[in-house]
Amino acid sequence: MTEQTKVPASAPSDSLLRRWTGPQTSDLVLSPGRFGLGRVPLRLEPDATTGMVCGFCATGCGLQVHLRDGEALNLSGDPDYPVNLGMACPKGWEALAPLRSPDRAVTPLLRNPATGQMEPVSWVRALDEFTVRMKTVQAAHGPHSIAFLSTGQICTEEMALLGMLFKFGMGGLHGDSNTRQCMATAHVAYKQSLGFDAPPYTYADFEQSDVLVFVGANPCIAHPILWQRVLRNPHRPEILVLDPRRTETAMNATQHLALRPKSDLTLLYGIAAALVARGAVDRDFVEAYTTGFDGFEAFLGAFTPERACSESGITREAFDRAVDTIARGRRVSFWWTMGVNQGHESTRTAQALIDLALMTGSFGRPGTGANSITGQCNAMGSRLYSNVTSLPAGRDFRNAEHRAEVSRLLGIPGDRIPDEPSLAYDQILEGIEKGDIRGLWVIATNTAHSWIEQDRFRRLVGKLDFLVVQDLYASTDTARLAHLVLPAAGWGEKDGTLINSERRIGLVKRVLRAPGEALADFHIFRLVAEAWGCGGLFREWTDPEAAFGILQRLSRGTPCDIAGIRGYRHLDECGGIQWPFPETAAAGTSDPVRERRLFEDGRFFTPDGRARFLYEEPRGVPEPADAEYPFILLTGRGTSAQWHTNTRTEKSAVLRSLYPAEVYCEIHPDDAARLRVETGTRLRIRSRRASIEAQAFVTPTVQPGQVFLPMHYVEVNRLTRSTFDPHSRQPSYKHCAVHVGRAAG
């Protein structure tokens, strides 16, 4: 607007009869903002601002925190940050609210064996208890009888310290994290196909593609800010969505392929075969940069369009149009999320997308790539540095050379470094079931809510001698089962880094004081090290920034080399830095290019530098619908206002107003008519594992014979079935058979 268009609000003066001003009115007065914020509420006027990366999802938005006396008052999207360009989703906007919740854990809590009640204890007592009881378990059942389950929600430095403390200091072997539920498939698929767990893209690719293929991804709801980037695409792109549901993203697509649940692998092979048939393969690229295409081509012979269409339920017209679109596309990008990662053959499905990108030469150029959109804010940090399935920076536990390197770089005696990776999440739980694992340390995750076939987990918790839960709240479903709760500081109450989906390392800062005696996870790990008696191994880990320096040292020479970053301040000034950023890249130029993608030279991270085509005959779903359980249950994200087990998002009154208070079940109108139910009717949903109630929501956006339950409600995972991808051990949340009927009464 120009100056003359600004209309001053008319403000007649107060009279006895009409009050235009007063204490209530002044509560809403805005002050002309400083710091480029525009107008802000006067009562929340900041005296400084600072930028930090959001701690919910892996989009990794920059938030501008409004500070007064160094303490956060409010926040808004950071206009400078290359990810979100000033925007935020509801979770980001409300990121401070969960920290201010009255039900934060403020002291360590220890269960009194006599009363069964949790009682506040001092940190010293809690650490004593932790050490003595974990050591007791180890003494009786062997050093590997303790395990931890961690998270993609804490900072990289914290994950790294935990992994090293547990394995090198405490002598444990088995730890895993909730990224197993989220990104394990992408991790394994990339590692096998490209030689390193390396999502190749940068978010600018959303804006540069002319064809975007989304498979099992609903960014409109799951990653709203990434959808913003799609909408900025000026090339009028074709958008293909492969999803059984007509999701918000499918609605905004140009082509929606509403395939049968878990028919994705067959359909993708069918598309690949059709591309081969019409000569749409980029032979030059395949020849120069890949290996194994001949075998793939032969394998594809069995995937005729007829088979792909009949197994996936897609019409031939829609199939041909999709193939044609991909074949004609010049900058084709393939994007996937949990619809792929959480399946019974998920690694091969993700690799089918990588195969498609390889065969069409869609790597290393703007607007291309086989791109996994990550779930959690620091799934990538966990993949690289949690010291769980691999040694830091993608090294192999089984590789003696790698172990020696880590030993040298960390000053850890070589004999303390195990020569085998941890068991996966499901195997750790199996270990508990069998009595091999007796002590469990759960950090910032909510297994009792999120783990597949939940009742089983709740049963086997009873077999543990000692369960420690470290979280912001003592009220999580898992913390309620614990013997000991350690109160953690949250995002915004500590320093550290998170790595987002496009490999961008962003900074988290301490802008609020943690309540009571809650401590940063980093601090807690240091304390455990000290109490355990192995503090000497970690003398160098004085604070998160020092730890970051150690991680940089570990990264040097690896594909994820970040040795060129000049500390936290550098990250802050650049709006995050994508890996790799080796010292060689840093030399000469002051700052990295803001948006960088991998493989521009066609060199992959495999020993021969060539990407691999990996494929396998599709297998049927383990639990198809049948007469007794005639519906297929799909689960997934409900709204953009809910995050995973709702532990944090339920603390904000505003977010609560944005999602249904109780679990609901989406059901097609035809099924609803047959069952004589309508929106609002209480349904009973029964699987072979359990039975729950939910309110019906009748909508044509789910297909007949399928129902959808949002995962944020605790009862949902009572129904799901323990099925795992054999390569990634990721649970298959997206398919099981259920019976649906009216609830009694």
Binding site: K6, W20, P23, G38, G70, G86, L231, A514, A520
Partner: protein, 570 residues
């Protein structure tokens, strides 16, 4: 939960010494208190003067301010909205609203729709009719003819002549919440802590400075913009005949002809075949107990006042005085109760200000007039000099009482909610007036009769018969209406009837029982032995009053109307 194992065999305390741990705990707890972000990191925007998001929203604002006859309005591109709800939280944070307060809401409409070839991307061609969920973001519509403004008794609303923004004067508000009933979209939000309502002001302070409203700034998809619109055009667009036949606003929304909302919803999907996610799902509103008491007691009072002229001519003033006192006491109790409904009762003295447009203002005036008329009648009952005026003053009390009941009814009729249409509301309110007036007259005169005025017995009898007639008529009418609404899925009050039947299944049986008891007890009082007549009459009156109170609670809790599309109801 497994018992502690192993620990019992170990001595308390760890062997390797707690002192270093204790020192580190203290050190880290202290470190945890330090906030150093400002010192450690540079202030990137320390000197920024202009808003950094300006380039993001510049094109979402009109090029110039509204001309005379024009106003600002929201324009929502439903196809660009992806349902992230960032607008709700942006509004909340950027306006510094209370924790549980939101000025924007998000619901959705679902169904099947045929796409039109427009919008950001080319639509799917493989299906002529596609399933659709359409997210709808909604705030104040800054209507051309705002219901809130028209209904406010204290003139706490203002439609800014320059911008058309409908503003709420927070320090003028007395917290009666009538605007929430008057707004078809239920936009104003009542805050219990503040005792007032607040609502969207289209970020007038931002617009005045050339900045975009919070929701416009916060939408990642540029789905909300501000436009200029001729206020008169809004009235024309949403004329009743247009609104009834075409989708001039949003599928399944409240009738836009009531207030002529200024928000424009754009979509490539035509409105047919779509319905709000929560349409027809039975729900309940709050019971508003103080209003229940006000209505029932003031109507009983008016009913008693109707009997005043009938007894004004009696030689002994006792009957007149008894009815007058009863009427006055009930009215005073009712009005006192109504104060409890207000969030800021000390501001209620301005309630006459809105009399030109607000039926609530008029109701308050009418109730006070009625109270004055009763006081005047009292003068004629006790002061010999005014004895001669007893009949005219009684008639005046009756008339003002009826006017008060009429005004009360209009308060609800004027909300344009189908369930509170004129027939239902006047039927209920006048029915209560007649029923309770006759019942309480019978009781009051009956009591007077036994206290030495046997000449009143015929009047008692008449009043009791009138009560029985009213009771029966009201009962039958209520049941007939309810059944008809329940049976007819197309009835505008079907959802209300379902709410009563499904969510409050005990109400109808209880009211049936109360009707039965009050009728039988009334007959027993009339026909039975004189010794027990008082007890029977008392029972009949008690059950009658209870039933009417319950009826008025039902009036409010099932008084819902169609509103903006909501989310999934649970």
């Amino acid at each position: 939960m497994s018992p502690r194992t192993g620990i019992a065999q170990l001595p308390e305390g760890t062997p390797h010494g707690l002192e270093p741990v204790r020192t580190l705990v203290d050190e880290l707890l202290e470190d945890q208190r330090r906030l150093t972000a400002v010192e450690r990191f540079s202030q990137r925007h320390a000197d920024a003067r202009a808003p950094l998001l300006e380039s993001h929203y510049r094109d979402l604002l009109p090029l110039s301010a509204p001309l005379p006859g024009e106003q600002y309005a929201f324009e929502v591109d439903l196809d660009a909205c992806s349902g992230c709800k960032g607008c709700v939280t942006a509004c909340h944070s950027m306006n510094g609203l209370d924790d549980n307060e939101t000025w924007r809401e998000v619901g959705f409409i679902v169904g099947h729709a045929a796409p039109k070839p427009s919008g950001p991307f080319r639509p799917s061609a493989d299906a002529p009719v596609i399933p659709l969920t359409q997210v709808v973001t909604t705030a104040c519509h800054h209507c051309a003819d705002p219901g809130c403004l028209n209904g406010c008794p204290v003139l706490a609303y203002d439609k800014d002549p320059a911008t058309g923004i409908v503003r709420h004067l927070d320090d003028q508000c007395m917290g009666c919440s009538y605007c929430i009933l008057k707004c078809p979209y239920e936009v104003p939000k009542y805050s219990k802590e503040r005792g007032i309502v607040r609502k969207c002001d289209l970020c007038q302070g931002r617009l005045a400075a050339g900045e975009a409203p919070a929701c416009v700034q916060g939408c990642p998809n540029e789905a909300i913009r501000i436009r200029r619109v001729r206020t008169a055009d809004l009235i024309a667009t949403h004329r009743p005949q247009e609104a009834a036949t075409a989708n001039t606003f949003l599928p399944g929304s409240p009738d836009p002809s009531i207030t002529a909302p200024s928000t424009l919803y754009r979509s490539r999907h035509p409105g047919t075949g779509l319905r709000p996610a929560d349409q027809d799902v039975p729900r309940l509103d709050p019971p508003h107990v103080p209003l229940v008491l006000l209505l029932v007691l003031s109507q009983a009072s008016a009913g008693l006042a109707l009997a005043l002229p009938c007894v004004a001519g009696f030689a002994a003033p006792t009957a007149f005085r008894v009815l007058l006192v009863a009427s006055g006491v009930l009215l005073a109790l009712g009005m006192a109760a109504s104060v409890a409904h207000l969030g800021r009762p000390t501001k209620a003295w301005r309630a006459f200000l809105g009399w030109r447009r607000s039926w609530l203002s008029r109701e308050i005036l009418a109730l006070n007039l009625f109270a004055g008329a009763l006081a005047a009648a009292a003068a004629s009952a006790w002061i010999p000099a005014f004895q001669g005026l007893r009949l005219p003053l009684a008639l005046a009390a009756s008339a003002t009482g009826l006017f008060a009941v009429f005004s009360s009814a209009m308060v609800y009729v004027d909300t344009r909610r189908p369930v509170w249409d004129a027939t239902r509301t006047f039927g209920q309110f006048l029915g209560t007036t007649g029923l309770l007036g006759a019942t309480l007259t019978a009781v009051a005169l009956g009591w007077t009769a036994t206290a030495g005025h046997p000449e009143l017995l015929p009047a008692v009898r008449t009043a009791a018969i009138v009560a029985a007639l009213f009771r029966t008529a009201l009962f039958v009418w209520n049941r007939v209406c309810h059944r008809a609404a329940l049976a007819d899925r197309c009835s505008p009050v079907h959802a209300n009837a379902r709410a009563l039947a499904e969510l409050l299944p005990a109400v109808i049986p209880v009211r049936n029982g109360l009707f039965l008891v009050s009728t039988v007890a009334g007959l027993a009082a009339l026909a039975g032995p004189a010794s027990s007549a008082a007890a029977w009459a008392g029972l009949s009156a008690l059950t009658t009053v209870t039933s009417e109170l319950l009826g008025r609670i039902v009036f409010f809790v099932t008084g819902t109307a169609r509103r903006m599309p909501g989310g999934i109801p649970t």
